[in-house]
Symmetry: C2
Subunit: 305 residues, 2 copies
């Protein structure tokens, strides 16, 4: 699946992933109205609204982008109905040739971690049958529990040719509280990064591992160090746009081959219509498409020497 | 809700939480057969089986225990149908007067963390209505992302009189890889514990905070230190029984008042019938009840001076 991600990135000439993180407040009024009219002002109606919103974004952008990253929390907040919308979104994006990065940030130990892996990127056995409950290609994983938490994911990813991105240095202001703590002069995120490089060797594609890392766009200097510590691990970069990162800041996250990183934008793309004077809510998809094109242009600054 | 947990613990005289972490392989053959006959050998059948299994355990033990801790991964692995069984289990246990600790180990930032909190211990607004998608009383939270990840949970917990347990030192063998790293001589888990004590002050019950910590039974010496660092924070203790901890090991986790800790056992209780020569699979509930009684007896060793 890392091969497919890289192939998509090359073909679309865009190291971009669109974060499908729909809040109800992001959904245009006419979609909300239709959904509530059809299903009621309830969890089912809300789930229908975010699904229709996602579908509009996917339809308007899929030919430009290699991947989408649905944030499961935004679906889980609507309970069972929300999880149905999550699955439907993943399945639909996949039918459009997109790679699906499930932003689930799960992490537990042993058979529990394996259960998460099986549920999201693997297959569960029931009697003599196998099922894929959710259908992501990659998931994000929290490393706090150590190898006992990560290895079950690696096992399932190897069986299924799937991959994962492990949180190393997150984009948020307080990420330093624990991640930057110095251990004999070395910040914890570097210790995690070294483990990611080590874990990555267990599941290699051609040039890159199926096991990548999450490093926030908001910390470009740390990105430069981490890029070198994990030369064969793809970096998923959140924090571009709404969180403050710009194209120029992203140079350190890429390797000399122009690969090695994929940059996420969520609100900057899916809420583009709100900041646009050209596109209104009715044309939210067109606004998202233009935002992807603008982002693509801005990211070229990452490669200007 | 911390008051209700403490009240339940005192009334039942048992600082015990039963981990409802059902694998299909734990479910007795007759339950599996009935579920597959009714719904097919599929995700729906599997979800029915684990729900019936849980119901049997709850019915057999609810009068002895203060709380249950369903591990969401074991439900999520069965997709949408599994999540329905999760909700059904939480709702049923609550109807029996039990406190529900959702072992979800979520953690993200800002509005995303808030979405998890809203989904599991809060209420989501849809139009002019409010809904509780999942209905836990406490959740477990991963601290790797720092205050940005934890504070949105605190906000929702305050609004709802709910609580949380933050991972500090987990019970697994590799928990030390990152958690034990020394920062100027202080292990990271102590730094996290100090933050838990600080966060806990933001949402206090009478003697204890609504914000607790997870510390593994497998590390009693660290438990003693952590107990002192977080005097007002309840400690949720996994790792008893199947993972190796015993009653005697648990003394350091309790305060002088005999409170301050609640000990989880999952397989030791829900799979008790497999190790029993008295109870067969048909009487798995009775085997679980006896296992709870045995655990209650063993835990008395924690209080022997």
């Amino acid at each position: 699946m890392i091969q497919e991600l890289i192939k998509n990135i090359k073909e679309k000439d865009a190291p971009i992933v669109v974060g499908l993180d729909p809040m109800l407040s992001y959904v245009p009024e006419h979609i909300l109205k239709d959904a509530f009219d059809a299903y009621g002002e309830n969890l089912e109606g809300a789930a229908e609204a975010i699904w229709q919103f996602n579908k509009g974004i996917i339809d308007a952008t899929y030919d430009l982008i290699p991947a989408v990253k649905p944030q499961v929390a935004m679906y889980e907040q609507f309970g069972i109905e929300g999880m149905k919308a999550f699955k439907r979104t993943c399945d639909y994006a996949k039918s459009k040739g997109l790679v699906i990065i499930g932003d689930i940030k799960r992490g537990d130990i042993g058979s529990t971690s394996e259960a998460y892996a099986v549920g999201h990127v693997g297959q569960i056995s029931v009697g003599n049958h196998k099922f894929s409950p959710f259908t992501e290609d990659f998931v994000t994983v929290n490393p706090y529990l150590g190898s006992d938490g990560v290895k079950p994911f690696i096992k399932v990813c190897k069986e299924e040719n799937k991959g994962m991105f492990i949180l190393v240095k997150t984009s948020n202001p307080s990420s330093g509280e624990f991640q930057d703590q110095l251990v004999d002069g070395t910040p914890l995120y570097e210790i995690v990064a070294r483990k990611v490089a080590e874990w990555g060797e267990e599941h290699m594609g051609e040039d890159y591992s199926y096991i990548g890392a999450v490093v926030g766009a908001t910390y470009p200097e740390m990105g430069a160090v981490l890029r070198k510590l994990m030369p064969k691990n793809y970096i998923l970069v959140p924090g571009y746009g709404a969180q403050g990162g710009t194209g120029k800041d992203l140079a350190p996250f890429f390797n000399e081959d122009g690969l090695g990183a994929i940059v996420n934008s969520s609100r900057g793309i899916i809420c583009a219509y709100k900041k646009s004077e050209i596109y209104g809510p009715q044309n939210f998809g067109d606004a998202s498409r233009q935002a992807v094109l603008d982002m693509k242009e801005d990211l070229k600054n990452a490669f200007v020497k």
